[in-house]
Amino acid sequence: MTQEKGAGMVDDIRAILAQHGRLSISGSELKDDTDLYQVGMTSHASVNVMLALEAKFDIEFPDRMLKRGVFDSVASIRAAVEELVNGAQ
């Protein structure tokens, strides 16, 4: 994966979090390692984030990935999405 595509992916993840994450901070304050659950994301919101990610990247998160640690920051979401996108290639 090229750096450009990686950056685009992070922008997409951030856009999805802004729309569905119900975060208490603005997108500009959100760092790649900010704990999303600490800034307001509920379990219910995280499900909507997962659904939006699955639709956007045309992936399905396997059950082994459906745990808190995978969705607790932009960086961890990116790692999971990259794994699935690359795995599909």
């Binding site: 208490s24 307001g40 998160f61 459906l66």
Partner: protein, 383 residues
């Protein structure tokens, strides 16, 4: 005597005989709780190296079930206390303050009440309005709670609140309030259909203390510990209520059979049916308790698995299923006993069991839990 045998003796000799008066007078089951304290069972979950018993989920669940057979209120108070202890044992063990507290708990057998509800959050445990105020090492917290079970009878309280005045509503911590450092004023009554002895009116709580009494990260505590322990221990005691009702139906059918040897009473068929349902209910509780204990015993305390949404679904399914079966089974027991089951003053009465069992669907409303599961099933594939 094993711990479970001690609990069984307290159930049969202390909690059971007092159950009718606890229910009728809506009073705290003080004699049974005092007996449990005498056997040092309030610190059953405290690790052995700190002086406790270090019991696991399976044994603790069996204790709740056993108490539930005799007195639902005693079982619920015991279960709720253990859930608070579990939060401390599993999430504050690295704190010197809480290590000392656990040793003191072993010695003095404190009863800890939970204060998670709050006016204005719509029943959502994962939201708080009140916030802990920390300054110069001291702590202040005021909470307007909708229901505080046995607050007046507790030694200490464990409350949820926001981490600070500027924290998000779900950025929560827990605060331990020590006897003498808090005031609790009931601002309503607890006159209910069942579970009358848990004494759970709305209350205003005001706490003073030191900053070491804060346990950070309630988000983690709830998924690792509070939900697993609550749903399993509650399900255990609801199985106990169901078993208590079935026990009366069995005695009733035996009495009918003895009156007319050689003829199986028609009610025996219904008894066979309800005993089978009870077995299914218990198997479900034991299955989840055993799986949970195995995970918690792992070196990583099963953190990864317990926080997966697949496991969350299982805990939720257990709670919804057992809360419904408790009512169904108590009701079947009443139909078997007939008018003797319906009467309050008959030895075969299951009226109290039935009224108590109805609380199960409301303690975290089943619809709220099913809505969570509905959401989980949008992304979970197999688990």
């Amino acid at each position: 005597m094993t711990n479970l045998e001690k609990v069984a003796a307290i159930g049969a000799e202390v909690a059971g005989p007092a159950a009718a008066s606890v229910d009728r007078e809506a009073r705290f089951p003080h004699e049974a709780i005092a007996a449990l304290k005498r056997e040092k069972l309030m610190s059953a979950l405290v690790p052995k190296e700190l002086g406790g018993m270090g019991v696991g989920m399976i044994e603790l669940c069996a204790m709740c079930e056993t108490l539930g057979q005799h007195c639902s209120n005693t079982a619920m108070v015991f279960a709720m206390h253990q859930i608070q202890v579990a939060c401390i044992v599993r999430h504050a063990a690295s704190s010197p303050y809480f290590r000392d507290y656990m040793k003191e708990l072993v010695e003095k057998q404190f009863l800890i009440a939970s204060v998670t509800s709050e006016v204005g959050v719509g029943g959502e445990i994962r939201r708080s309005i009140c916030a802990v105020e920390l300054s110069d090492g001291s702590l202040k917290l005021n909470k307007d709670a909708t229901t505080v079970s046995y607050g007046e009878h507790a030694d200490d309280l464990l409350l949820t609140c926001r981490r600070s005045a500027d924290a998000a509503s779900n950025d929560q911590v827990m605060v331990l309030a020590r006897k003498g450092d808090f005031t609790l004023s009931n601002v309503g009554k607890w006159d209910t259909m069942g579970m009358r002895g848990t004494c759970s009116p709305p209350a205003l709580v005001s706490v003073r203390g030191v900053d070491a009494q804060v346990i950070p990260d309630f988000a983690t505590i709830i998924s690792h510990t509070k939900v697993p322990f609550s749903h399993i221990l509650w399900s255990g005691l609801w199985s106990g209520i169901a078993a208590g009702a079935v026990g009366r139906a069995r005695a009733f059918v035996r009495q009918q059979a003895r009156a007319n040897p050689g003829t199986t009473p028609p009610s025996a068929l219904r008894l066979a049916e309800v005993v089978s349902t009870l077995q299914t209910m218990r198997a479900n509780v034991h299955d989840v308790a055993a799986e949970c204990e195995a995970l918690m015993n792992r070196s990583d305390q099963g953190t990864e698995s317990l926080t997966s949404i697949g496991f969350g679904l299982r805990f939720n399914n257990l709670k919804v299923s057992t809360s419904q079966l408790a009512v169904q089974i108590a009701n079947q027991a009443m139909l078997i006993c007939g008018i003797n089951g319906y009467k309050n003053d008959s030895p075969f009465s299951v009226a109290r069991h039935l009224r108590d069992a109805h609380s199960a669907a409301l303690m975290v409303a089943n619809d709220r839990i099913l809505a969570t599961n509905a959401s989980i099933l949008l992304v979970l594939k197999d688990g």
